[in-house]
Every structure is written in C-alpha cells, then in structure tokens.
C-alpha cells in the first residue's frame, strides 16, 4: 500500500519535471537565432510568402500564446505538425523511438556483460597483473568519449577488417515483414534469424561505442563495491564453510555489492541515451537522435519540442525503474 503511494508520488513529481522541461525547451528554441520559415522557402521568396507561412504555423503570435496553443494540443495527444515533413510530430517520434530504444538497451546489455565480467575477474584475481590490466583498461575506456570510440570502431571493423556494417539499421534491399519498428526484437520473435543477424550486425558497432565508457564505469564501481564487500564478516564466514572463492564472490558478495552500483548505473544509462544523438548520426542509424539533429538543422520547432519531451520521458522513466529495482532487490526496503 505504502509502496503504491510512493510510486504515485514519484509519478506526480515526474509530471512536474516534464512540465518544467517543456516550458524551458519551448522558450529556449524560440529565443535562439534561426527561423524555420526562412529555411523552408526558396531564395527568391517574398515578404508576403514569409508572413503567410509564419501565420500558418502560428509563429506570429507571442511565445506565451504559442505555448498555450501547443499545450492545449498536447493535452489532447496532439504534439503539433512537423514543419519539414508536414507529418504529426507524435507519429514521427514514435516511429523512430523503437530504433533508439533497441540501440540503447543493446548498449546497456553489452556494457553490463563487459563491465560485470571485468569487475568479477578483477575481484577474483585481485592483486594480480590481470587486475592491474583491468584498471588500466578502465582508465583508457573512460578517457575517450563514445563518439570517438565510434570513429575508432569504424576504422577498425568498418575499414581495416570490414566485418560489421557501418551505416544504417538494416540492409536496405532486404524485404522487411515487420509490423512494428522494433526490428531486432520482432525478428527474434518471428524466428527470422537471418534478419536478426543483419540487424544485429548493423547495431553492433554503434552499440559497442555507446557501451564502452559505461562498461568501464560499471567495471570500476562494481569492482570497488565488491572489494569492500569481500572484507565483510559474512563473506569470511562463507569461506570457512568450504566455499570456493568464485562461489563466495558470486553468491555472497555480488548480490550486496550490486545495490550501490545500480543507482549510479541508472544515471549513467541516461547519459548513454543522450549519447545516441551523435552516435546515430555517425552511423546513419535511423533513430530519434538522428532525427533530432535534422530537426535542429531545419529549425523544425514542433519536432524538436516533441523529441526533447520524449527524451525527458525516457530519462525519468529510467530513473523510476532504477528506484523500483533497488527497492525490489533490497530486503530492507522491501519490508519497510
């Protein structure tokens, strides 16, 4: 009951946050220089043409007035119409969302696998050269941002040893039988492993580029947390019972060491989602981020607005999910 209450409270604060984001973005993108109408019209357009289009998109009204109009639409589920494509913003944005979600989650999974493996190996072999090598690797992974990893990967596996696709989401000539835009998930559910492989091979490098810095963070945090946990009395007690070092790490230390790591990884995951904007551009991946850059270049104000709101929804959703997972994993909170 109390649990439900705290979830409702979180939903309320989330709504307030989103409203704040909407207001700020709405005003900022209208104050910065650059006029969407000027971008649309051919060079020879007259003043009258400009005025007519400006009025058509409601841009002649004051910013607060525009905001009210936009808000009354949003309340009815209408996020406006994209200026460049003339399509409803909501429809555009939702059509790209699956691509970005699949990319981000794939990156997260890769980061957890690599980072978790490194942390566990480093803990198992603490004090050895392997642990020192892992520390150095973490430092290197962290000192290079994700988009540079993207470039490095393109050079390595796109140019030098071309084994992965460097652009797009799927080979364009393939006929796609999908009814949603969750290509990777749907190909798996339809047991179309040929398509799945093609999509995964497109996704692999951008996902890896996003994953490398997060993997290093997970590896560092989890290793540190494990190191502290391994000194605790209940771990020592398990050792005296006859358990192997590996068992002690996995069964006794890991479940407790994960908790402090989890919240930080949640925050880092939202940074990773932010990183998709540039990474998608770099790999010509048809996701939200790529669309966001186009929208900014074209000063497509309604579209920018919609994308930013969607990113904000994703961020707060991830944070909520992390808090719920934390509560579910921690017996002290579960019973409180």
């Amino acid at each position: 009951m109390q649990f439900l209450q705290s979830v409702l409270l979180r939903l309320c604060t989330t709504l307030i946050t989103l409203a704040g984001v909407a207001v700020i973005v709405f005003f900022v993108i209208r104050v910065v220089p650059g006029n969407p109408i000027a971008m649309m019209l051919p060079p020879g357009a007259t003043e009258a043409d400009v005025a007519r289009l400006t009025a058509l998109y409601g841009l002649d009204k004051s910013i607060p007035q525009q905001f009210l109009i936009w808000l009354s639409g949003v309340v009815q589920g209408d996020f406006g119409t994209s200026i460049t494509t003339k399509q409803p913003v909501l429809q555009l944005v939702l059509s790209r969302l699956p691509a970005t979600l699949e990319l981000s989650v794939m990156a997260l999974i890769i980061a957890i696998i690599i980072g978790g493996f490194m942390a566990l190996t480093g803990t198992r072999l603490r004090g050895s050269k392997t642990e020192a090598a892992i520390d150095i690797g973490n430092g290197m992974a962290l000192s290079v941002p994700d988009f540079l990893w993207g470039l490095i990967l393109i050079l390595a596996f796109g140019v030098l040893i071309p084994i992965f696709h460097i652009s797009g989401r799927v080979t364009p000539s393939l006929p796609l039988p999908f009814s949603t835009n969750f290509y990777l998930t749907e190909s798996l559910l339809r047991l179309r492993f040929d398509l799945w492989l093609d999509i995964a091979a497109h996704m692999f490098m951008p996902a890896l580029a996003l994953a490398i810095p997060l993997a290093a963070i997970i590896s560092q945090l989890l290793k540190q947390s494990l190191k502290e946990t391994m000194h605790l009395d209940y771990v020592t007690l398990a050792r005296t019972k006859g358990y192997s070092e590996t068992h002690v790490i996995l069964r006794e230390a890991l479940p407790n060491a994960i908790l402090p790591t989890l919240t930080l990884v949640g925050v880092q995951f939202t940074f990773l989602i932010g990183g998709t904007v540039i990474i998608e551009r770099l790999f010509s991946y048809e996701g939200l981020g790529n669309m966001a850059i186009d929208a900014v270049i074209n000063r497509d104000l309604p579209l920018i607005q919609g994308i930013v709101i969607l990113f904000a929804v994703i961020f707060t959703g991830v944070n909520l999910l992390v808090d719920l997972t934390y509560a579910a994993l921690n017996p002290r909170l579960r019973h409180a």
Partner: protein
C-alpha cells in the same frame, strides 16, 4: 591425541620482517575447551584465521604446521583444504550484526554448508536447522528461518550463528570473542549457551578472549599469547593457582575477582612488559641462528 595441533607456526606481513606469529605451538584435544588470551594485537585472531584459511592477503605463513585430525592443512591443495575445514571446523564470529548476509534469509544461511558442501538433502538440512534453532532456544524457528537478518536482534543473531556453527557437527569450533559485541546482559546467556552446546555435542573449542573470568568458567586449558609468541600453556587450575610466567602473574593481578575484590588492581607494569619483550626477542634471535 590432539585433534588440532599447531606446531611452530610463524607468520608475518608480506615483504616485511615484523612477525605476527612466532613459532606458535598449541594443542586442542578432542572435546577440549582451550582459552587463548593476550592483549589486543597479540595475534589471537590471526591464529584462528590461519586455522580456517582466512588470513588477510597481506599476511603470509612462513613456517610450521597446522595439523587437523592428522592432516597437515598447510600441505594440502587449497580446494581440498577448504572442503576439509568446511566439514570439520566452524567459526562463531565476533560480531553477529555483520556476520550474516543481509540479503539472504536465515534458513539458507544455516543450511547452505550442509547442502552445498556436505551434500545433504534440502529437507534433511532444513529439519536439522529447525532442531538446532530450537536447541539454542529460539522461539518459532520456522518463522526465523524465513526472516532476514535485519529483522532480528543481536542476541538472536548470535544464537543463530551458534546454531549454524554446530550444524555440520564439526569436531572443532573457533570462537573469536563471541560475546564482546553484545549487550552485557546478553553476554552471560550467550556464554552459557556456548558452554552448554559444547558440552552436549562434545566439540573441541578454541576460545579467544580478553576475559580471564570467562576463561575460568568455560575452559579447561589456556594459552597466553604476547606479540605472537606463546608465553604459557597451562591447565586452568595450574594457571590460576601457580601461573608459570611473570606476564601471566601480572595479567592475573590486573584482573578483578582473582585478587582481593576490595584490593586495588595493578595494571601490568612496564617492567614486566619490558622483560617479556626482551624474552620474545631473545627467543627470536636464537631461533634464527
């Protein structure tokens, strides 16, 4: 025939000359309760850790033998040593608040050794855990087994840890200051419980403590440790009536109840400490020649 026999065990900090244990020899017969006393930092816990194979990575054993039931533990491969210790020894830890895994229920924490290491069936192990919890006077064992550690008091948790230590009927239990972390009122009960369990199960016990009063009640023999060196090895009557070493005499004089209760307590004098230090160092030198 001793169940545990430690012979000339030496240990030091890795890469440093400082000795943490100096040719320690110590015997615990089957079913015997041996006290291990000494000031803080004397190395009492290190001896327990050396037996159980949980020495910190920074400490290395430089010589000697730890013979458990006829097998030299230090000569065994690590995996074999672990399972042997898990089957024949157990630890009653000092602090019940940190010795239980906070994210696991009590039941599995008692039964895991029986199921995973000794290959009991789960049902047998759970029955055994219930019986033991009842034996250490825990009301409603069923409910306790489903609880998490944070739901139980310190005294309850120490009872659980005692039950857990006896679960596999070990032949040797090491208790490292099992009551110092508890309330004074609970200390007495826990002490009585350990003594009663030991007597009923006939387990040998190595009892680490600061408290000579406790030693006189629980133990049959005693080793006095100073700077990693065994100064005295006596039976309890010997020790309390005719201590062999000047440091032991000073230790007794510094303890209430064994001198005149109204008389003043004399702390161990600097002169005795200096003489004891000199003796330990001289012994070190002669051992290295």
């Amino acid at each position: 025939m001793s169940y545990l026999s430690i012979r000339n065990l030496s240990a030091r900090l890795k890469g440093r000359p400082d000795q943490i244990l100096r040719r320690v020899s110590l015997e615990v017969a089957a079913g015997e309760v041996r006290g291990l006393v000494g000031e803080s930092g004397a190395g009492k816990s290190m001896i327990g850790k050396a037996i159980l194979g949980t020495l910190p990575q920074s400490v290395e054993i430089t010589g000697g033998q730890i013979i458990l039931d006829g097998t030299d533990l230090l000569a065994l491969p690590a995996a074999q040593r672990r399972t042997l210790i898990g089957a024949k020894c157990a630890l009653i830890p000092q602090d019940p608040l940190t010795a239980l895994n906070p994210s696991r229920r009590i039941g599995p924490q008692i039964t895991n050794r029986l199921v995973d290491i000794l290959h009991w069936s789960r049902a047998d192990a759970e029955k055994r855990a219930r019986d033991l919890l009842a034996e250490v006077q825990i009301p409603d064992p069923e409910r306790v087994m489903r609880s998490y550690p944070h739901e139980l008091s310190g005294g309850m948790r120490q009872r659980i840890l005692i039950a857990s230590a006896f679960a596999a009927e070990p032949k040797l239990i090491i208790a490292d200051e099992p009551t110092t972390a508890l309330d004074v009122t609970v200390q007495k009960q826990i002490l009585k419980l350990i003594a009663a369990m030991q007597a009923r199960h006939g387990t040998a016990l190595l009892f680490v403590t600061h408290d000579l009063g406790v030693v006189s009640k629980v133990c049959q023999s005693l080793s006095v440790l100073y700077a990693g060196y065994v100064l005295e090895d006596s039976t309890i009557p010997e020790f309390f009536h005719a201590p062999k070493h000047p440091y032991s005499r000073a230790l007794l004089a510094a303890t209430p109840k064994y001198t005149d209760p109204d008389g003043s307590l004399t702390p161990v004098s600097d002169a005795v400490i200096a003489a004891t230090r000199a003796e330990v160092e001289a012994a070190d030198r002669s051992a290295h020649v």
